[in-house]
Symmetry: C3
Subunit: 348 residues, 3 copies
Amino acid sequence: MPSLTLADLQAHLGGTIRGNAGVRLDGAASLEQATTGQLGFLLHRKYLDQARASAAGALIVPESLNDPLPQACLAVANPHAAFARALALLHPEPRSAPGIHPAASVATDCVIDASARIAPGCVVETGARIGARCVIGPNCVIGADALLGEDCHLHAHVTVQHGSVIGNRVVLHPGCVIGSDGFGLAREKGPAGDRWIKVPQVGRAILGDDVEVGANTTIDRGALDDTVIEDGAKLDNLIQIAHNCRIGHHTAVAACVGIAGSTRIGAWCQIGGAAMIIGHLEIADRVTISAGTFVAKDIKEPGVYTSVQPLMRHADWLRNASRLRHLDDLARRIKTLEKQIAGKPAPT
Amino acid sequence: MPSLTLADLQAHLGGTIRGNAGVRLDGAASLEQATTGQLGFLLHRKYLDQARASAAGALIVPESLNDPLPQACLAVANPHAAFARALALLHPEPRSAPGIHPAASVATDCVIDASARIAPGCVVETGARIGARCVIGPNCVIGADALLGEDCHLHAHVTVQHGSVIGNRVVLHPGCVIGSDGFGLAREKGPAGDRWIKVPQVGRAILGDDVEVGANTTIDRGALDDTVIEDGAKLDNLIQIAHNCRIGHHTAVAACVGIAGSTRIGAWCQIGGAAMIIGHLEIADRVTISAGTFVAKDIKEPGVYTSVQPLMRHADWLRNASRLRHLDDLARRIKTLEKQIAGKPAPT
Amino acid sequence: MPSLTLADLQAHLGGTIRGNAGVRLDGAASLEQATTGQLGFLLHRKYLDQARASAAGALIVPESLNDPLPQACLAVANPHAAFARALALLHPEPRSAPGIHPAASVATDCVIDASARIAPGCVVETGARIGARCVIGPNCVIGADALLGEDCHLHAHVTVQHGSVIGNRVVLHPGCVIGSDGFGLAREKGPAGDRWIKVPQVGRAILGDDVEVGANTTIDRGALDDTVIEDGAKLDNLIQIAHNCRIGHHTAVAACVGIAGSTRIGAWCQIGGAAMIIGHLEIADRVTISAGTFVAKDIKEPGVYTSVQPLMRHADWLRNASRLRHLDDLARRIKTLEKQIAGKPAPT
């Protein structure tokens, strides 16, 4: 790992140094775990006590923070972003040597930039194109005629199906699948009764620039038109994006979310973990869906939307849940009571 | 892509041509995206305006539709199925050359039909058998003694564990896992306190003919008996099928569904996305489970079943959800009120 | 498969034989499927009729069971654990020959015990260490500087990302991903508007001894500190464990569960399938979360906790669910009625 002074970090990140600009740092850690050679960070005053107790050699802090701290500090307008950049400087990703590893299988007509890295076990099929400085990790499969831009990083075991279009600076985590067939079935009478026949999925999966896709997430290709993940959208692990969805730019989707076919989600949305969104919906820009929420209708206004059950001790849940089956009946009985009361003289 | 006339399509699909039978088509697209050389389709009168505005060169329409359309039309009894078949004609899957790629690792005692294709990076273990015209995509792993029928298509990164039995015309999408161990644990006192010991999973996963399994879906082998997916069942992405489940023929399961151990689901069921079904249940034939629904008891009658919370603005949810913890109390208070009212003379 | 007498099993498992100790067994099966050469088991008296009707050659039964049975029996204190051990004896895993398959790609500076097995298609990156008797299945990827203990079994297509630390006797099922990046984003103003920048994930994923991880499950590395799965924890398929989680020793997590970042779960917990737990929570030891439950607050006491909706016919659900949006209003109306009634003379 590199060794940098706080002044070196300031040269990259801007901000104001308070204290010893020459303190040497060779890594970053949490306030609790940091040692004297490490950088920590403080996002909020509520962590002041932890910061004071921390052995970190230096801290990134908000410029609005005026409280004295024992460590050298770099005060910046956006400490979260500055710390992210400091981490990238202190823990740089190892550079892979460019070139196609001899244990990769690459079709002869692929166009692979000389600065790209194709790791062992990769299979790159006919007509695929891979841009400058891409790193394709071990055992990835790039299908026929797939197109990858520049500076993409595919981790191990990624599948990019035929004809997919991937922008620049896209990060695909292990086991994710881009461009798999959507779930398209037509019902038909056959000689031995009804049966499903497969509707061929001939659209593409298109990922914009700066998209990130988590481990084992699946993004289906379009049925006829394309599935589109716009620039800067970020998807966590184990997410399902069905055919013909469109995810707006800079929308962030947490893990275990499912989005059914042809749903369009706006820009700068935040979809909480395990939320489930049915098909053919329109979700406006800047909508936040709470974790665990089930969305079955369009959302036309920005805001926070929720539909989860509160947690209870199981015995309490048993008592309460059975009432849910009779909620309509309860509501009618209240109405009857109100009518009965209203028919009487007012209480004295 | 092939170029076909509408008359060529009629020769394969049946139906009646209205308009120019000689219009040439070299692909298919949605009504919005289609160009003059492309085929579109119309399932329902409600899309008539879109159809009239479409640049598509020809349309597949229901034979019951009598409205005039500017395009040449092929009128058929089942337009969805006809369009699926037309897509397969206009967008045929590229044929892979048969044979075992030199970058595959195949145990010497496997029986692989000469017409099958084994892509680079595949590992086929001892005793496996692969039938005629199968296409095994890049980096698949076929375990010892696994048996694949004819005309199967395994996409990239599929795992078929040892001893699994796969029928004919089965399609397995990238990253799916067939025959992984079920979650079987026995608790035991050890020298240093209690511990879990693994219950070996010695059953098989058996997939019938015409089964389709989505990307990154997992189907566990049986614990003692087998896990069975019957003929024509269709599974979408990121589904979990636990040990000893049986999924009935032609049942369709949407993405993100989990089905716990030993549950048996009937034929022609439709399980909505993200539904969760606990173990040891029996679900009858022709049951529809709504998306997001939690099933914790047997379902003995066909029909539609649901258990989801309606979406609310978060502020409304906060007000309402806290009442759920006291629903039983509310019901009791209604009963008390009813008794109090009943004890009085009827309103006049 | 080996052939053992009931006396042979007793020698390994202890217990008392009732009936013919010499009965030969060459496998195990369920009561319904077992044939005369197979062992069955009976956990509870309620299966007595099935046991009597079973063709099994011998049974493992609880020592507390005194009912006569037609089969030879081995009576033990813990029949579930004894049957698990008997299965391992009757269905032993095939031993893989040690050594690195020539179709694996192993960096020259890896330290791989001579008794370990590296299957074809594996990629082991620089600095990785793999302990004695490990079996690394086909097409696995072991990242740089990852450390595996002894007697681990990685099935096909497992990804262990760089720097991960895996204990002894760990079992990783196909497609699982250990040590992928967590979902860390910082928002920043860029020249063309706001954007997300990636927060580098520099912690590790650490798995203790005897951990089991199911197919296509994902365990993210820590952001700064580590993600930790303690000794003896068992994870089923398609689970998401986010960055900086800690899962306590011997906790069992069923399939399709999501646990968001920095949540700490105690020891000997049982998390039901498809439960979802938000981030930054503390769950005490010996907590049971019901299947499908959403957890959004700390749980400080052992016990069973639940938050699911009961299943209804769809028509009933429609009537009841709309009332949920007005539950707060219903509760207020009950209170009003109570006040009105209280203002009157008590019923006579």
